[in-house]
């Protein structure tokens, strides 16, 4: 009998499938973006504004160097937030608590950064580790609750988000994490971090480009490597795809939950650092909010893949940065909310589109394999008949 898999046929099919896979992978997000632009255009038009003017304002800002730097800086933060959420998502662990984790981590890091003043070479790694440790520990509470008590991580992390606000309220008071002497301003914040804690940045024509973008890149590379090239990553993905199969294959799912939750939290710990070490230099009541939830959206849009999330982070950063130009009177006073609407519709559309595309792709492949096998069989039968 001849080999059932002639190599030539095999390669061509593999190529066709992977080529199609790329198209399928791109189809969903592109569709979602197009759809949400349409919806927002209609919304703007009905409110009596010209949507094309709005898009024009946004695109114009993105072509300017200060706009580009703003977009890149923002996307650095978004990317870290997305990576934190995605790490859990890859094993079907829904860490909704990224929000609380990064805030608590940023608070503690700000405190440590203000109290200690070592050479930068030690100081910065120390702060990174502090942030990851605090974020990881805070997330581990949810992990432990899930493993030992069977509490759904969705519920416990949402609760922990609420608790984090209380923790910050409790610690961020004069005499504890904030300086004793009241400042002139009404808001309370920690002492500024020491000079050696400042992260490097590049001076460009458009302003300071945060050096933290390299940390984000590093996280992306490490993310991809761990997931696709290590035993741990295989176990993690197997658990995400089918927990029952993973258990039967020998994955210690409880241990995996603990580790993944901790890693997800540790990554979450980094989210606040670009802001803390490159911009505000202290943690106060005005510290950036909602990055955790944004990260979830970006991870969804980027399909939890390191490259996809990079594009998604850039898109969201583009929308947020350029959207801030819309309300300015010189630009026509568009409502800023249109950006939030757009982000929301993108996420909803993309979730639906991904599911549709996934099902279609799976079915399509089954059909292809069936057709391919039938053709092979016919060929062998013909050969046998001839012989």
């Amino acid at each position: 009998m001849t080999s059932p898999n002639p190599p030539a046929a095999k390669r061509s099919l593999a190529q066709r499938i992977s080529g199609e896979r790329i198209v399928l992978a791109l189809a969903a997000p592109v569709l979602a973006v197009v759809l949400s632009v349409t919806i927002c255009s209609i919304l703007l038009a009905t409110s009596g504004k010209n949507p094309f003017d709005a898009w024009n304002v946004m695109i114009t800002y993105a072509t300017k160097s200060d706009g580009q730097v703003a977009i890149l800086n923002r996307s650095t933060t978004y990317y870290l937030a997305a990576a934190a959420a995605a790490f859990g998502f890859r094993m079907n662990l829904f860490n909704i608590g990224v929000e609380g984790q990064y805030k608590v981590a940023a608070l503690f890091t700000a405190y440590v950064g203000a109290q200690i003043n070592l050479p930068s070479i030690i100081q910065i790694p120390l702060l990174l580790i502090t942030a990851m440790l605090v974020g990881g520990l805070y997330a581990s509470i949810a992990g432990a609750l899930k493993v030992y008590r069977g509490v759904s991580e969705v519920i416990s992390t949402i609760m922990l988000n609420a608790i984090s606000i209380a923790i910050i309220g409790l610690l961020l008071v004069p005499g504890i994490f904030a300086p004793k002497q009241g400042t002139t301003s009404n808001s309370i914040q920690t002492d500024p971090v020491s000079q050696s804690s400042h992260f490097f940045s590049f001076n460009t024509a458009g302003g300071n480009l945060w050096g933290f973008i390299f940390i984000a890149l590093l996280v992306g590379v490490a993310f991809q490597f761990v997931l696709t090239r290590t035993r741990f990553g295989f176990d993690l993905r197997a658990t995400g795809r089918s927990e029952s199969a993973a258990t039967a294959s020998g994955v210690n799912v409880k241990r995996m939950v603990m580790i993944s939750m901790a890693v997800s939290g540790a990554l979450a710990g980094l989210i606040g650092l670009p802001e803390l070490l490159q911009n505000s230099y202290n943690f106060g009541q005005g510290f950036q909010q909602n990055l955790g939830f944004l990260g979830i959206s970006v991870a969804l849009l980027g399909r939890n893949s390191p490259i996809g999330m990079a594009f998604a982070a850039l898109l969201f950063a583009f929308l947020d940065s350029t959207g801030s130009q819309l309300p300015l009177p010189k630009n026509g006073g568009f409502p800023f909310e249109i950006v939030a609407v757009m982000q929301g519709t993108i996420v909803i559309c993309v979730v639906v589109a991904y599911e549709l595309v996934r099902r279609y792709g799976l079915k399509r492949q089954q059909q292809k394999v069936g057709a391919q096998l039938a053709a092979q069989l016919a060929a062998t039968e013909k050969k046998e008949a001839a012989a």
Partner: protein, 526 residues
């Protein structure tokens, strides 16, 4: 394409059997008849009247009812409540409905008690409730999807009596099965499906089991009939005093496994017979380390594994062919080569140190695809796109690739076409000759008797009986499976002889059990 050129004519008031190996397209055809799937072309006519079904509701309205292989009953409700559920508009939910249930039950001799709780019923009773449910909704055409798969021989006979009763009352029954002697016993007409198309009709009065089988597969048939013994005296697996108790929602302790002790030697296949749900799944999971033990020890090749985790046990040399390959054996959406890694991620060639070795894993997957005749266009396709038989061959190839000392094979040929079945049996036998110990769990008594060296019967979590496959019939084994017989069971020599004749005639002689050229269409969700 799952089905093409299907022509099927069923006369009213008959039992019409639809036969075909697994994956032949029986289920797809039934889904079309029941309105769960729409045909691309072709027509359906009932009593000469063309009809079109968009949903199962349409089919029910035209008097077609379906009894699924897996029962769809709410355990915590009574029979009466289960029957009425979803059909409240027919006879209300009160006394009138109950009276109707009684009436149907008496009319067709189903013997259903409306007030019994479904959770207290056995499998056969549940099946009768399912049938009653369908009749209650006014069905005149009944589709039974492999109704005997879950029954022991005595219950099968009782079901057949029910079917004859239904027939005499004018109900038409379409009976799907691939068990030859059952079909011959009950059917008035037979249609055979192969590779998604009807290949012929047969008259059960004149056709022999062998002719039918050949129509089904279109080739010479293999048989599980065993050969000279390869059992050695070296002990491989030793299980002592295994006990597992689960606490259910009401806080009542249910003992699922009690005092299980068994020994398997090198080169021995130990078969476990039992009606599903009597602790087989838990026994497997206990040996695999997926369930914590309350008492007892598991020793493999002299090494105590009682406290080890699943991964350590796999590394120690346990191969595992799970009962439900979709849930426990495969990552359906992952490519074949990743599925080859599953379960052996810590072993060569899949990884070196903490790092994966995708190149070596891919290479080895190609080898498995070749050696185990996995029909696939490549190793980058997802496992879901393969047919059940090919998925199973991949799993077996994977498990055999790590020189297991013990193979746990739970229903290794379930949902697998006849061609792949023969190959799977052959792989198990070859490994057995090389000294593999096998724990075989199967609902197919012919397979169990054909392959095993020793048979133990499990009933309500205990090993209650044992038998020598050479001196036992499926009937007597079936009796023991219901808990009616204990200790060592041995059948009448004449009965054994007769049984073996049927077995050989039904599934043909051994020698030529080489790979047969049966194509199997990939089917999702098989």
């Amino acid at each position: 394409m799952a089905n093409h050129d299907i022509n099927l004519t069923v006369r009213s008031g008959t039992v019409h059997a639809l036969m075909g190996e697994n994956g032949a397209g029986k289920s797809t055809l039934m889904k079309i008849l029941y309105g769960m799937q729409k045909p691309d072309e072709g027509t359906i006519a009932i009593n000469g009247e063309l009809c079109e079904f968009h949903t199962p509701g349409d089919a029910i309205a035209r008097g077609i009812g379906m009894v699924h292989q897996h029962f769809m009953l709410a355990d915590n409700l009574t029979v009466w409540e289960n029957v009425v559920l979803g059909g409240e508009h027919l006879y209300g939910i009160g006394g009138k409905a109950k009276a109707k249930i009684k009436e149907i039950s008496d009319q067709y001799g189903l013997g259903v008690r409306p007030d019994a709780l479904v959770e207290d019923l056995g499998v056969a009773d549940r099946q009768r409730v399912e049938i009653l449910k369908v009749l209650y909704r006014g069905a005149k055409i009944l589709i039974l999807d492999e109704p005997t798969a879950v029954l022991v021989p005595q219950e099968v006979d009782a079901l057949f009596d029910n079917l004859r009763e239904l027939k005499s009352e004018g109900v038409t029954v379409i009976f799907i099965s691939h068990k030859l002697h059952e079909v011959l016993a009950v059917a008035d007409a037979i249609s055979v499906i192969r590779r998604g198309t009807t290949v012929g009709d047969a008259d059960p009065k004149t056709v022999t089991a062998r002719q039918l089988a050949e129509m089904m597969v279109g080739a010479e048939l293999p048989s599980p009939e065993s050969r000279e013994s390869t059992v050695t005296t070296t002990e491989m697996l030793d299980v002592q005093g295994l006990r597992i108790a689960k606490t259910d929602a009401e806080g009542i302790e249910r003992v699922v496994l009690d005092d299980i002790s068994l020994r398997i030697h090198k080169g021995e296949i130990l078969g476990i017979a039992g009606v599903e749900g009597n602790g087989q799944a838990e026994l497997v999971e206990a040996i695999m380390g997926m369930l914590p033990l309350d008492a007892g020890t598991v020793t493999l090749d002299g090494k105590d594994l009682s406290g080890s985790l699943t991964r350590a046990r796999r590394e120690a040399g346990i191969g595992y062919i799970p009962e439900d390959r979709h849930r426990h054996g495969l990552l359906l959406e992952a490519p074949l080569w990743e599925n080859r890694i599953l379960g052996h991620v810590t072993e060569k060639p899949n990884s070196s140190g903490p790092l994966l070795d995708p190149t070596a894993a891919r290479l080895d997957t190609r080898r498995i695809v070749e050696e185990y005749d996995v029909r696939t266009p490549g190793i980058e396709v997802t496992a879901a796109s393969l047919s059940g038989g090919n998925q199973q061959k991949l799993i077996i190839g994977r498990e055999m690739s790590h020189q297991p000392k013990l193979l746990i094979a739970a229903h290794p040929t379930r949902g697998v076409d006849v061609g792949a079945q023969a190959q799977i049996w052959e792989h198990i036998r070859v490994a057995q000759r090389n000294g593999l110990a096998v724990l075989l769990i199967s609902a197919d008594l012919d397979e169990l008797i054909g392959l095993s060296d020793t048979i133990r019967v499990i009933y309500r979590g205990r090993l209650v009986a044992d038998a020598d496959p050479a001196t036992v019939t499926a009937e007597d084994l079936g009796t023991a499976m219901t808990g009616a017989a204990r200790g060592h069971i041995e059948s009448e020599p004449e009965a054994v002889e007769h049984f073996h004749e049927i077995l050989v005639e039904g599934t043909e002689a051994e020698s030529d059990a080489g790979p047969t050229d049966t194509a199997d269409d990939p089917q999702a969700g098989e």
